[in-house]
Amino acid sequence: MTGRTAPPADRDQARLFPPAMLAALVFFASVPLWIRGVGLYEYIGVEIMIWATYALAYNLTLGQTGLPSFGHGAYFGVGAYAFGLAQHGIAENLWLCLLVAVAAAALAGAAVAAFISHRRGIYFAFMTIAFGQVFWFVAVKWHSVTGGEDGLLKIRRLPVDLGVAAFDVSGNEAFYWLVFAAFALVATGLWRLVNSPFGRVLRAIKQNEARASFVGYDVWLYKFTAFTLSAGLSGFAGALFAQAQQSAFPDVMSLHWSGIVVMMVLVGGGLVSFWGPVVGVAVYFVSRDVIGAATTTWMLWFGLMFMALVLFQPEGIAGAWRHWLARARARLAAAGR
């Protein structure tokens, strides 16, 4: 860069590939090499990649725009069902089915966003819960389409057809590479979006909605667009999840699971950091397996941990890391002088 340089705090934000992203991508790319060595297995890597994609998509509303959506499971679930139904009803083509899933989830998100985009705060949260419940309820009861509580079964992991070559991803290790690629794609795209002029407006809305609208931005349209995009990408993650589980269930659409994704985002520090949700998802799944192996009541301990975190460290792991880094820097500067 020549001429004007961005202020130091913003330099990372403007980079095409910031160090945090490269570190995350290299780390996750190396997972298949050592995951069995530390006593875990590939499927947990698949879960983490899918839920990290979902959490990043979700954080576009919560962390970036400040919209407390508490019913995001609906769009994840719609994506999962749409993928399965497209596969059974239209064609067994990965790209087509993914497209249908994203479109269906984005459509559902847009319908809800049209109702609630003029709201904020508690009222917004209320409405997202109510609408989330509608989708969950339909999924549970519409037995002929979704299979109800039994789930939509026999969803295949479709081969990745790149034109010149097609890859079979039915094994967990091969499938990991697919979800890793999906994660990398969504993470890079969202990073660009968040640091684009569009993303700046979203952050302005998060800080002060009234002021953003006084400056002249159509706040309703920005909130609508952010929510719809977030829903569509959540549906994308849902489609991957349907393939991972080879079935789709209404559970993920319930208030319980919608809350858990908020929990993961907050634990990681999604309110203060773009990468926080990824950390939160990894912590959730690894601690589920580690605490879950020791005790069957792991939800109790995770819940208590989470309550303590909200009270004492509400900025999550990323927030704690930043504080530590700032203090370490200050100490270094003091020592150097």
């Binding site: 919560l62 508690i122 109510a130 509608v134 309550m307 009270l311």
Partner: protein
């Protein structure tokens, strides 16, 4: 006329259910109004009330065996009264504990309170699973309020009528408390402008503690009343909190009669659609919500709320 008569029992059930929804929602709304917190653990405290009532009724108390045997000799009616007293105390006590922790989040984004109580809901549900297992329990009832009765050739469930009347009485008492006592005046003032209430020399911290206890105690009572209708199981809290949410959004946040009207509407819609398509009866309340908020963004009787800013 025949059609109307055939629908009458469903209508009675619907009204009774609607009044109970309104009761749960009102407890929830007191908390939303005074401290601007969404208590996602409200349903879990409702479940806690139901379990407390079961423990008292069935005599599964941690007491010496001979005392317990004596307790089981007490007539079921009195044990039921004891359960009605114990449940709100347990739920309200748990609510107080929650509020003591929740204090730290006041003044921050409302999201933190929401998340804290979500964590609490997970923990309470898991605790219930650990203590009682996942099986369903049936709350034993005194003979007077069980069974059914015949009126104009149609059979009604006695308990449903009793539950509706109980909820009606509780709502009336709550209204009297809020409108006719100095405590009620303070609570309403607190919901309107808590800073001004503090400036007038009222201990806001204590007020919030008691309002939280009171709101959750109402959930506990509702838990006892709904337990025989729904059965006692760990998941019952979610079944209660979701209609309560809908009732509040439908009625308009902060409106007492809005919540009662919305509760009745939801109850009747669920009851009547239950007569035709029981599988889908719960969906009707969601459709009702969407229909109402499409035309009235703040619900039936909602005014511009402090929570919207």
């Amino acid at each position: 006329m025949d059609l109307l008569a055939a629908l009458l029992p469903h209508l009675v059930n619907g009204v009774s259910l609607g009044l109970l929804f309104a009761l749960i929602a009102l407890g929830f709304m007191l908390i939303v109004g005074v401290m601007e917190q969404i208590n996602l653990a409200h349903g879990s405290l409702f479940a806690l009330g139901a379990y407390a009532a079961f423990v008292v009724m069935a005599g599964q108390l941690p007491l010496p065996a001979d005392l317990l045997a004596q307790w089981k000799q007490v007539p079921a009616g009195w044990r039921y009264v004891a359960a009605l007293v114990a449940a709100p105390i347990v739920a309200g006590g748990a609510g107080m504990l929650l509020e003591l922790c929740l204090r730290r989040t006041y003044g921050k984004d409302v999201l933190y309170g929401l998340l804290f109580t979500f964590g609490a809901a997970l923990v309470i549900e898991e605790l219930i699973r650990i203590l009682f297992g996942t099986r369903d329990y049936v709350l034993p009832l005194p003979r007077g309020i069980g069974g059914g009765f015949v009126f104009l050739d149609l059979i009604y469930s006695t308990y449903r009528v009793y539950a509706g009347l109980f909820a009606l009485g509780a709502i009336a008492l709550l209204w009297l408390f809020l409108e006719r006592t100095p405590y009620g005046a303070i609570i309403k003032a607190g919901a309107h402008d808590s800073e001004m209430v503090r400036a007038l020399g009222i201990n806001l911290t204590r007020l919030r503690l008691w309002v939280f206890a009171f709101g959750t105690a109402l959930a506990g009572i509702a838990g006892v009343i709904l337990a025989p209708i729904w059965g006692i199981r760990p998941h019952m809290g979610v079944d209660a909190v979701v209609p309560a949410f809908l009732v509040i959004v439908l009625g308009g946040i902060g409106s007492f009669w809005g919540a009662v009207a919305a509760g009745l509407m939801v109850g009747m819609v669920v009851g009547l659609s239950g007569a035709y398509a029981s599988e889908w009866s719960l969906l009707s309340m969601y459709l009702l919500l969407i229909a109402v908020v499409t035309f009235r963004a703040r619900g039936l009787l909602g005014k511009r709320s402090v929570l919207e800013v």
